[in-house]
């Protein structure tokens, strides 16, 4: 299987470990990811808060470059990018005249039938799910994990068309197939504070605190995530949360792809586990 790949800015900087682990597990599963050449930023929150036209033109400019490389299907691991891509496609289909306007901006047209996938959509379905059993090298059965999907994978559902919007299960399905115990909890799709990380950190500290508290209260050893921004907020703010709320969680936050990699026998070094603020090594040693 072969897909175009749009990593997005975070996966080349703050979330290199997500990029590395995703590429590694995909190669084990025989999925080829071909990075879109010279891709640029999707615009994320700043673009849609400043210009509706820019917010759709940036994702579509990237999709046009993908088509020039001969692809119709792209894998987008960052939920913020995923949401911008899906939203741009939804808008050009539903807003009369917008397609022509955007074609004028990017000086290029595109053909219909573009498909945007989050890796979870590919990995939680057959045939990939069925391949896991033969690839498992390491037992992770003792690990209790909660799956945190965040905001933008599932919302708004008519745009993203991802899983079930209030209680998604695709990440749970992936991890369960590896033998990891995933727990039910109430914060699967709650907000971590998102891009307030650079402006109003007090909001991030409050919202991320609630997510960590929710995970701890059901007895989780770690939180599995699929979003670089969720990861950053939950992982790097624990010290500040301890200072503000007096709670020491010490909860490792792992990309679901890192858990997959560990299960497939990849080393901590290959999965860049050392990049996390809260170390996962101790918890992982306990389940050896």
């Amino acid at each position: 299987m072969k897909y175009a790949y749009y990593p997005g800015c975070s996966l080349h900087s703050t979330a290199k470990e997500y990029d590395h682990s995703l590429r590694a597990v995909c190669s084990r599963l025989g999925i080829e990811l071909v990075e879109i050449k010279n891709w640029f930023c999707c615009g994320s929150t700043p673009a849609h808060s400043v210009s509706r036209l820019l917010a759709s033109a940036l994702p579509l400019g990237n999709l046009v470059m993908m088509q020039k490389m001969g692809f119709q299907e792209v894998v987008v691991p960052c939920p913020s990018c995923f949401s911008r891509f899906k939203s741009a496609l939804y808008r050009v289909e539903n807003e009369p005249g917008l397609r022509e306007e955007i074609e004028g901006v990017i000086k290029c047209g595109w053909s219909n039938g573009i498909r945007v996938y989050h890796p979870l959509e590919v990995l939680s379905e057959e045939p990939q799910l069925g391949k896991f059993a033969s690839l498992i090298k390491r037992e992770l059965a003792g690990l209790k994990v909660v799956c945190y999907y965040g905001c933008l994978l599932t919302r708004p559902p008519k745009v993203t068309q991802f899983d079930t919007c209030e209680y998604p299960e695709s990440m749970d399905r992936v991890l369960k197939a590896l033998g990891v115990a995933t727990l039910d909890w109430c914060y699967k799709t709650d907000c971590c504070g998102a891009s307030f990380a650079l402006t109003r950190t007090d909001i991030v500290v409050n919202l991320s605190h609630e997510v960590l508290q929710g995970a701890k209260s059901v007895g989780a050893d770690a939180i599995a995530v699929a979003c670089p921004l969720c990861h950053m907020n939950l992982d790097t703010r624990q010290e500040e949360i301890e200072k503000t709320h007096g709670m020491n969680y010490e909860l490792p936050i792992l990309y679901f792809t890192q858990l997959m990699g560990l299960s497939f026998g990849l080393s901590s070094r290959e999965l860049l586990l050392g990049k996390h603020f809260v170390s996962a090594e101790r918890k992982l040693a306990e389940v050896k």
Binding site: F40, L54, G104, I106, R200
Partner: protein, 187 residues
């Protein structure tokens, strides 16, 4: 029964129409059930709940809306849009009022938020991809909050989570799009 005359804002219909022309959303569909406010993760920090803000737009209270904290504190988490029984895309409305406020050069109640938008977009139009370290430096300069999160930033650098140098891949194509959008929006 006490009857009192409510003074509606200047341009009663105009504001709702302006919001509609930017976002395509008709705020008059809202019947004030408050489901958006109930699910909003940031409403605790807002001066008006999302439900109140929509009501104010319906009433044409332009000044109240554009000078509120609420519009800058929306996290765009899309919970309100998802749950609205009337299918009012409230996150889209928030985008629209932010866009209107910025086009009118209104002094934002939470100035660091539009400063973040502005500087992020400048960053992307220059480098093509987000150059985080550059963005952080510019934000620190513009808000003069040099010590805040300095420990965090240094630790991220040490862990190799921030690239020292920017990448220029994609910069040219991105810059062309920015220029085209700017030219069209000026018209």
């Amino acid at each position: 029964m006490v009857r009192e005359t409510v003074q509606l804002g200047h341009g009663f219909w105009d504001f709702g129409e302006a919001v509609k022309s930017v976002s395509g959303v008709d705020v008059n569909l809202c019947f004030q059930c408050a489901k958006c406010a109930s699910g909003c993760p940031v409403s605790y920090a807002m001066d008006y709940t999302p439900t109140q803000l929509v009501h104010a737009i319906q009433l044409g209270l332009t000044d109240l809306v554009l000078n509120s904290k609420t519009i800058w504190l929306c996290a765009s988490c899309q919970t309100c849009t998802t749950r609205c029984p009337q299918d009012v895309d409230l996150a889209g409305v928030m985008d629209a009022v932010r866009i209107i406020a910025q086009s009118k050069n209104i002094k934002a109640k939470i100035p660091e938020v539009p400063a973040f938008y502005r500087n992020s977009l400048r960053n992307i139009s220059l480098f093509g991809r987000m150059y985080e370290l550059g963005l952080i430096a510019v934000l620190k300069l513009s808000t003069r909050s040099f010590t805040k999160d300095i420990g965090l930033g240094l630790k991220m650098l040490r862990k190799g989570k921030l690239n020292i140098l920017p990448s220029f891949s994609g910069a040219l194509a991105a810059r062309r799009i920015f220029a085209q959008v700017k030219a069209r929006e000026k018209k």
